[in-house]
């Protein structure tokens, strides 16, 4: 589809090009004549002219020159180039040149100075590319290099430009050149400062800073200083927004990992130390799904993996509950030790089957890349994880509030003995609650496979953080878990720029240790006599 469109655009461009080619033919001849001399100054001049000419063979010629594939045919006094396979083409027409004697070919010499000139010329040639995205990329390259030599090319491109985004990029590139060249008219430079101020990113800040340092006192210097202050304020604001976004993204991961733990801990009062390994099983399920799925369905692999991971981890949870935890009721500390043992076994099992190395889980096309919103960039994969976290949260709330199973589960959480007296089979509720919590951990594993290494140790990294969320949120209801995850995730990312990642984490752990003094049962504690030990 895109390729077809590209060809269409190319065709259109060629038609326009053909109309102009009559006028261009002469200049191309002159340019090529410069190569014939094979002297560095002439060659450099030729490169510059080629870049501006917009000749259809220009890019090929420059590429050939950089690769030492451009030759002078001494017989016919023309310039030819070889392609990578060694076939010979005419530089003027770009068609295959017949009857050229290999022995009469002489290489056009290049040195390092010429190579950088070629690079610059290639850059400015992309300014004339038919694809607007390429033109924007070219303009950005000019913006970064802000070489005054490119100014005519940029201005020419700007005059022709119809695409709004590309026009903006050209304007900014032009402003970057003007701001840094001291001999440009002051009015132009002032306007350029305005354009850069509007762009307002780190690069613009650097350019204006450079200019302000060199400029003598006057309107230019004051305008520069004002622009710097404005950009800095704007950047600081976006920085906070960006960190908030990172925090939100971290919170969603925490929520996914912790919510299953909160359920099992709420219902049964036991801590499942193998919870992290359920996450790991979910991630490995994703890996298996991706390696088995036919390539044409590859972009659906994660959608397939979510239910499978839920079932795999859920079944494993039910198995653990039936084989181990059932026999340890009323002994929460022993349960903790036993599930730790289970986690060691599961880790080693996965290590034995899949090896200790990281496994590659790829992201489907719609989940890779990022979107620019204002001054921040939002990774699509992270966005989907947030969506998944919200979906899981809503689904769980519905399950707990609107189904009979949820009602029973809440009853057991609130008062186990009374629930049993009312005819609820608490053993079955425990089993399914444990399976549900583990299954959700499996879903978390699918999400984590996108942002973390899929290795047997995957779960260990999240287990302590998940506990902290549960401790902070309490087991009263799921809103506590949500609030706990949001608090920890956002606080962590907001602290990070100031104190570093590790110290930030330590501060949060200390905060939780102090918090639990104030509210030993978390933010949302269950009220009533049942929970008073």
């Amino acid at each position: 589809m895109t390729i077809a469109r590209l060809f269409a655009a190319l065709f259109l461009f060629c038609c326009i090009g053909a109309a102009a080619s009559a006028a261009r033919a002469d200049t191309l001849d002159d340019t090529l004549a410069l190569f014939l001399d094979d002297k560095f100054p002439q060659t450099e001049k030729a490169i510059g002219q080629l870049a501006l000419s917009g000749a259809p063979t220009g890019a090929q010629i420059l590429e050939a020159l950089a690769d030492n594939r451009l030759f002078i045919d001494k017989g016919s006094k023309t310039i030819v180039f070889k392609n990578a396979a060694g076939e010979i083409f005419s530089a003027k027409t770009g068609e295959k040149a017949a009857g050229v004697d290999e022995g009469a070919l002489k290489k056009v010499r290049v040195n390092n100075g010429l190579r950088s000139a070629i690079d610059a010329a290639m850059g400015s040639m992309t300014l004339a590319s038919p694809d607007p995205a390429k033109r924007v990329a070219g303009a950005d390259a000019v913006f970064k290099s802000h070489d005054p030599k490119d100014l005519p090319a940029v201005e020419a491109a700007l005059a022709k430009e119809k695409d709004a985004r590309a026009a903006k990029a050209f304007q900014q590139a032009r402003a970057a050149i003007l701001v840094t060249s001291a001999d440009a008219p002051e009015a132009d430079r002032l306007a350029a400062v305005g354009v850069l101020k509007e762009r307002g990113d780190q690069d613009a800040l650097g350019l204006i800073g450079e200019m302000t340092e060199k400029a003598s006192d006057g309107p230019l210097k004051t305008a520069g200083a004002a622009a710097i202050a404005a950009i800095k304020a704007r950047l600081a604001l976006w920085d906070i927004v960006q960190n908030l976004w990172y925090g939100l993204s971290a919170s969603s991961v925490l929520l996914l990992a912790a919510i299953g733990l909160a359920i099992t801990f709420g219902v049964m009062g036991v801590i499942n130390m193998a919870h992290g390994e359920m996450v790991m099983l979910g991630a490995y399920s994703t890996f298996i799904v991706q390696s088995l799925i036919p390539p044409q369905f590859a972009q659906w692999s994660l959608a397939v993996a979510i239910p499978i991971a839920f079932v795999v981890a859920g079944c494993m949870g039910i198995l653990i509950e039936r084989l181990v935890i059932r026999f340890l009721y009323g002994r929460p500390l022993e349960t903790l030790l036993a599930t730790w043992g289970v986690s060691l076994i599961l880790q080693q099992l996965v290590r034995t089957i899949f090896g200790a190395n990281n496994r590659q889980v790829s992201a489907p096309a719609f989940m890779s890349g990022s979107i620019e919103v204002g001054g921040i960039s939002i990774t699509t994969g992270r966005l989907w994880i947030i969506v998944l976290a919200i979906a899981v949260f809503v689904a769980l709330q519905l399950l707990l509030r609107a189904t009979s199973f949820g009602l029973r589960m809440r009853a057991v959480t609130q008062n186990r003995r009374m629930a049993a007296a009312m005819g609820i089979s608490t053993g079955r509720i425990d089993m399914f609650a444990f399976g549900l919590g583990s299954g959700i951990a499996g879903i978390a594993g699918v999400a984590l496979s996108q942002i973390d290494n899929v290795s047997p140790n995957l779960g260990q990294g999240y287990i302590i953080d998940s506990f902290m969320v549960v401790v902070l949120g309490g087991v009263g209801n799921l809103w506590g878990t949500l609030l706990g995850a949001l608090t920890l995730g956002v606080a962590n990312k907001l602290l990070e720029p100031f104190v570093g990642a590790v110290l930030g984490k330590i501060m949060l752990l200390v905060f939780i240790i102090l918090f639990i003094q104030k509210r030993p049962r978390g933010l949302f504690a269950l009220k009533g006599r049942a929970v008073e030990a």
């Binding site: 801590i271 009721y329 500390l333 639990i516 003094q517």
Partner: protein
Amino acid sequence: MTSRFLATFDRLGVAFIILMLGIAILVPVLALAIPPGSPLAIPPYVVALMGKYLCYALLALALDLVWGYCGILSLGHGAFFALGGYAMGMYLMRQIGTRGVYANPILPDFMVFLNWKELPIPWWGFKLFPYAMIMVMLVPGLLAFAFGWFAFRSRVTGVYLSIITQALTYALKLAFFRNDFGFGGNNGLTDFKDIVGFNVQADATRAALFSISAIALVIAFILCKAIVTSKYGKALIAVRDAESRVRFLGYRVENYKLFVWVVSAVIAGIAGALYVPQVGIINPSEFDPGNSIEAVIWVAVGGRGTLVGAVLGAIVVNFAKTYFTGVFPEYWLFGLGALFVLVTLFLPKGILGWFASLRRKPTQAPPTALAGEAAIAEEGGAAQ
């Protein structure tokens, strides 16, 4: 006085003390005086290995004191162990002096490498052995006091407390991993040369450290036994079995817990300090939550609330670990995991409890699980 004191020990305890004192004398003799070719001779690496086991046993003893007798399941005792180890390591680092790679008389190598100009304040005084020994006990003790004071006053109990202790050791691990925290970062402290003037690597020093570890274990055992058999110890056991009831009877439960918690942390710190010169390195991985929880299983295997069982468990499990990681390195974690599951399911009283039940007459009622009773009393049967 002495006879009354000795009366508090059962036959098992006395046998344990005699055995430990015996090996404290015998092992150095066999290692040093017997020529290496003789079948009775103990090679130096075995002495170091056994010394390591004794340090682990001391840690297990400390853990049993709080878990077995007070019901506090600490998943962070490795933190106190490692802090004691770091205090000893800092003393050993300062002893290196000009023999380091950079030959700086004051700064340890890693500080020179990080381009630090002067010794950070926490390192002051560690050139003096007595000061370092005080720190070995003071640092874990103070941390335990601060932590316990907060935690026990606000009645954080059960799994919450366990998780918080785990977070504590995890936080310390992260901190010690940082280079700018000032304790060698990732690499920790190593390359030790001398301890109070003797070469750390020498066989005689190794043997002496082994004896000291055995004697420390005996002293700690006597101390713990004295605590748990005293009137205070009775109250402690009551706290374990029915905390609320003890509080309603007018006891200050938090003070009982705090005292035993701090004593336990100090013993763990001493264990760490003895451990470091025998293994020759201390690094942040000692703070790993996994290490602390592994120490818990030693106690569970040997038999919780028996003291001797903790020592036995630490030695048995670590011997098995050394053996199996050598022979079947891939299967050790399966074994360790299975140990956690099987011991909690089938041997709630550990090896010692199992032996006791074998010796008991069949007419007696079968013993109910210690922990089960505790939970029923504590929860009032709330959990089924």
